[in-house]
Symmetry: C2
Subunit: 105 residues, 2 copies
């Protein structure tokens, strides 16, 4: 069984492996948008099609270091995910609500 | 002991109570920016002073529904916290990195 599982892991992309490993460790994987897209096994073209924009625009967006919350949220939703904005304090975490809530809820 | 604790809770602001309750329940409190500021027992004036902007600007910012990631991060850092961008997928969570990383690290 262990061999089969490790073989399965080996067939995954390095990004997908990182995501699976983090889950095993009960840690959260941390990666830039471009790596996240690869971990989801999606191409820029696939994202572009969902968002009705050009592939060049997706490429450009992945290189940005700052953007509107709505842009980031739309991009993550195009990957099939949802975005949480989490404020960390020494005594706890708080999810920020009422900020660019998804329009399809 | 229980009485003393409940008395302590009663003296807290409703927002701080919500944050404490969520921690007890091991759930994450969820609130808009304005409530988060109150939970931290901070005034708009205090935030404005940290950010070297007017109180009116802080007030305006708290009413916005979309903004740059950097704006949100700066605001949360002014409250003594840090911002995490978390993408949720059915099979796990991923922290988005390389996006408007804090400049003071």
């Amino acid at each position: 069984m262990a061999t089969k599982f490790s073989e399965l892991r080996e067939r995954m992309s390095p990004e997908a492996q990182a995501m699976a490993q983090a889950k095993t460790d009960e840690m959260m994987a941390e990666m830039p948008l471009q790596e996240l897209r690869r971990a989801r096994e999606l191409s820029q073209k696939a994202i572009a099609e969902v968002l009705h924009v050009s592939q060049a625009r997706v490429s450009k967006m992945e290189k940005r270091t700052d953007m509107y919350l709505s842009t980031l949220r739309t991009h993550i939703e195009a990957m099939g995910g949802s975005l949480d904005l989490v404020a960390n304090f020494p005594d706890g975490k708080v999810k920020i609500s009422h900020l660019d809530e998804p329009t399809h809820v």
